[in-house]
Symmetry: C2
Subunit: 404 residues, 2 copies
């Protein structure tokens, strides 16, 4: 598949994180000719926080991971991810397959099974050929390297057209804390995390409960604010692992929290930039709502509307469809107070087209690859910003012609 | 635009309804070379019931119609519809334009303004050139004919590829009651009625309040159970006019209610069959939910899922996407009790692929133009049936390349 036109120039140089190593392998779970399994090892004492899909049909690995968060962090830990098969809706067989992988990782790496976190992404409903994974575990364990995070980013890809990585460093009391993360995700991307796997590592020292709170809060403003197609996966997993190896305690540290937020937002934007068939990266900013939740509802109604997204694909400043999406959102809205802008161009205000609105200027703006849509509801102080992409023939081709 | 492959062979022969006449004209509101305004006249004593979009940005004509339901039915009444311009999000100008049309209809036809119901469908946010409509009113009034309902069905079309009509007759105590209706709708079709205009006429005798209750109840199981693209219009209007000219009182009559339901369902299905880009007509039946509302939520999550709809377009029995949609719906679901069928083929049961599931049989079934998806949640007695179409390159072409 051709690389998304919205892809970054290249994969970033990610720093090594003390206490974290990686290895990848071509296990042939489904794909051939590429790595499809990655094993990350985390030093003893690593705090692991996570958020997951809220789907009622979530996969066996997700259920297993959720149960393990908050356990005793004193032992080493492992993260094992395969692409090509989601091990979702596979019944008792799926639970058994996850247990087989977890037990094998524990046996080979000598970490407790309660510290082995797994994820599977790919086709739903097919039995996971777990022996293809377990046959490679000794090799994965033997070849661990602190520098192999880029290979890990590639091994977890499914319909992604580029690997996704981001990093940040923070100076705290003269010491450096480092954060590096990878993500995969392209379709089935919607609120509640979608088919998205995200792994972020830091050498910061922080308790699990505090880290969990920080991750959940940032997740609400990053990964839960992106949508490609309004569909929500059975398998979404975001794990943040803090090894503590920098020796810097970041408990309650605003600079660390901000840096973690930046890395999460960067990865979330990369998922949208790799949205199936995407040719435009769109920021939707809603202000003036009665509450933040109303603002979010309006922003998501716009970002998920097939008619808005096809208009963007067609570079058509069809703002009537934005009015429609505001109206259908279910949030409080008064069309006589509504203002709409596209970039810096005021399109509509006080319930109608702005007096000096220029269709030519708006059409010219729509040719940009990065677009901003602003809606002010004129009712209160609630705000929300979400990110999405356009809906193109490419999305149809990928999803109608190919079983992902 | 090419006619939908799901279109009926031809427009049905609709019976005349005593007390109802029609005329249409090419007023040039936006389209050229076709009729774009229709005027229906209703005899004195006609009860008019209606349901409308729930959009917060509903159009001026919708607000005007809503206010007029339930008024004194003793005078004659009129329905005036234009296509090409929705007169939505047009501020004070829009309210004035609606008032100008209503007043002109009242003056020419000598019915009270409170009995003039209007609707506008087409582009949002453009001023309605109401003088092009009012200039034709005398002509429309002079040319009224009981037989012109087919022309009326054509005049209200926008992106529709075929006109939509349905009828029924009921024998009650040896007397015949007749129902005939027309509809338009193709895109921006979702729960809460979408860009859909529906006008149904009957010579039955029934009070407005009783008719209103019947219409609202049937609407919940017909037009509010269809979706093309999950987008909801600013302009949806369904009016049912009962002239009473048959002399048959249908108050509380189950046979009449059933016939009205049939006509509404038939028209609703025709709207889906004309869904933008549609090549498949899909029935989604959900059973075994805790409540009917949960069942409806699951059915709509499936019917609106871009991934389910693109899989259908690709004739791919990708039932993992159905599992995904069940999971994201927000309704109570237990994947170990979930069963899924495609047509008569049991795909999954008890949380996994059915033991004798044949991918070949399922793939062969998917080639049909009319498809059934069944989901049983195994939790209770709640049920819901909804109808949708597939999501194709045609939808993208229509909506990315054309301002509807």
């Amino acid at each position: 598949m051709a690389m998304s036109p919205l892809a970054p120039d290249r994969f970033p140089d990610l720093p090594e994180i003390a206490g974290v190593t990686f290895a990848t392998v071509a296990a042939g779970v489904k794909y051939t000719g590429r790595d499809d399994v990655m094993l990350a090892m985390l030093a003893p004492g690593t705090a692991v926080a996570g958020v997951f899909t809220r789907s009622a049909t979530r996969s066996a690995p997700v259920l297993d991971c959720q149960a393990k968060l908050g356990g005793d962090p004193s032992a080493a830990a492992a993260i094992l991810v395969n692409s090509g098969n989601a091990n979702a809706f596979t019944g008792k067989n799926g639970t058994n397959a996850t247990a087989a992988v977890v037990d094998a990782v524990a046996a080979v790496t000598r970490v407790p099974a309660a510290r082995v976190f797994t994820a599977s992404t790919g086709v739903i409903g097919e039995p996971l050929p777990h022996d293809r994974i377990t046959a490679n575990l000794q090799d994965l364990s033997d070849r661990q390297s602190a520098g192999a995070i880029a290979e890990a980013a590639r091994a977890i890809m499914t319909t992604d057209t580029f690997p996704k990585g981001a990093s940040a460093t923070v100076e705290i009391d003269g010491e450096t804390v480092t954060i590096a993360g990878i993500a995969k995700g392209s379709g089935m991307i919607a609120p509640d995390m979608a088919t998205m796997l995200v792994y972020i590592f830091t050498d910061a020292q922080i308790g699990q409960a505090e880290l969990q709170g920080m991750v959940a809060s940032h997740n609400a403003k990053t990964f839960n604010c992106i949508t490609v197609d309004s569909d929500t996966s059975t398998s979404d997993t975001l794990l943040v692992a803090a090894t503590g190896r920098s020796g810097v305690d970041v408990t309650g540290n605003a600079a660390f929290s901000a840096a973690l937020h930046r890395v999460m937002l960067d990865l979330a934007h990369q998922v949208v930039r790799d949205g199936e068939g995407a040719t435009k990266f769109v920021t939707v900013e809603v202000t003036g709502a009665e509450h933040d939740t109303d603002a979010h509802q309006v922003a998501m109604a716009i970002a998920n509307s097939p008619l808005v997204k096809t208009a963007i694909a067609g570079e058509d400043a069809n703002w009537g469809r934005i009015v429609m999406a505001v109206g259908k959102s279910g949030a409080a809205a008064d069309h006589d107070r509504l203002s709409i802008r596209i970039g810096d161009i005021t399109v509509a205000e006080n319930g109608w087209r702005a007096p000096d609105y220029s269709e030519e200027a708006a059409s010219a703006y729509m040719k940009n690859a990065e677009l901003e849509i602003g809606v002010d509801l004129g009712l209160g102080t609630g705000t929300s910003t979400v990110w999405t992409c356009d809906l193109t023939h490419g999305y149809i081709s990928i999803n109608a012609d190919y079983r992902s």
